[in-house]
Assembly symmetry: C2
Homo-oligomer: 160 residues x 2
C-alpha cells in the first residue's frame, strides 16, 4: 500500500499541476497526430505565425519559454520534414530567420481547431477558468522569478 508519509500539500499541488499539464498535452498530441505534427511543432508554428516572417530562433525560445538548445533541435527536425524554412538574414549573415512552408501553413491552419483542448476546458465554468487563470499566473510568475526570469518579458499568453 502506498505510504506517502509526510508528503506536503505544496508538493501534491505541484504534482497535480504537472499531471494536468501532461495529460492535456497528451490529448493534444493524439489530436494533432492525424495532421502529422507534434504538439511541440504546433507550438513553434504558432510562435512563427505570431512573431512574423522575420522570426529568429531566439524569439521562438522566448515566446515558448523553451531553451534555445531545445528550439534549435526542434527547428532542425521541422526543416527536415518540410514544415519550416531557415534562411540567412541578408543584412546579418550569421542570423537565421524562420518562416513557414506551404506544408507548415497547412498544418498550422489545421492545428487551430484544438478540439481536445476545448473539450477538456469545457469541464470548467467560465468563472472557474478565470480563477484557474489567476492562480496559475501567480504561481508561474513566482516560479519565473525563482529561476531568474522576468515575468514581464514573457510575451505569451497575455491575460484571458
Amino acid at each position: 500500500m502506498p505510504n506517502i508519509g509526510d508528503v506536503d500539500q505544496d508538493y501534491k499541488l505541484w504534482v497535480l499541476l504537472g499531471q494536468a499539464s501532461d495529460m492535456i498535452f497528451e490529448a493534444r498530441e493524439n489530436e494533432l497526430r492525424e495532421y502529422g505534427i507534434t504538439a511541440m511543432q504546433a507550438e513553434v508554428l504558432f510562435a512563427v505565425q505570431a512573431i512574423g516572417d522575420k522570426t529568429t530562433p531566439a524569439q521562438i525560445s522566448r515566446w515558448t519559454l523553451r531553451r534555445p538548445h531545445s528550439i534549435s533541435g526542434i527547428l532542425d527536425r521541422m526543416e527536415k520534414v518540410g514544415l519550416i524554412r531557415k534562411t540567412k538574414d541578408l543584412a546579418r549573415k550569421n542570423q537565421v530567420r524562420v518562416s513557414m512552408t506551404d506544408k507548415g501553413r497547412q498544418a498550422y491552419n489545421k492545428s487551430l481547431k484544438r478540439k481536445s483542448i476545448h473539450r477538456i476546458m469545457s469541464a470548467l465554468a467560465e468563472e472557474e477558468r478565470q480563477q484557474l487563470w489567476s492562480r496559475l499566473e501567480t504561481a508561474r510568475n513566482k516560479a519565473l522569478k525563482e529561476v531568474g526570469k522576468d515575468p514581464k518579458k514573457v510575451p505569451f499568453p497575455k491575460s484571458l
Copy 2:
C-alpha cells in the same frame, strides 16, 4: 509585433498551465542539482518509497503517469548512477523489482526539502491553493478521460 489573431481563451489557459508547470519544474531541477539528481529521478524515488520495496516498473509508471517506455529508460539511468537496484522476483523470474540503494535513500531524504516548491506556492494564500487544486483536478480528470485513462486509477496525488 506579435499577431495572435483568433487565439482562443482555452488555448491560452493551456499555454499558461504548461508554463507554470515547466517553470516550477525548472526551479525544482535547480534545487535538486546540488544533490546530484534530476526532478524526474526524485519523482521515481518518491514513487519507490511510496509503493514499497517490491515496486515494479509498471507500478512506477501508473504512479507517475509516465509511459512504461520512459520509466524504463529513467530506471536504467538510475541504476547506472547507483540510485536504485533492479532485482528479479524470485517467484516470477520475468518480473523486475525496484528498490533504493543507500545512495538513493540519501538523495531521496534530501529531495524532501522542496524549498523551491514551498517558496513558489507561498505566493498563493491557503484558499487560493484550494481553489487551484479543485480547478486542476477537474481539468486533469477530464483530460485523463480524453486520453482513455480512468482518473480513479491514478494513485497520486489524493486530495489536498
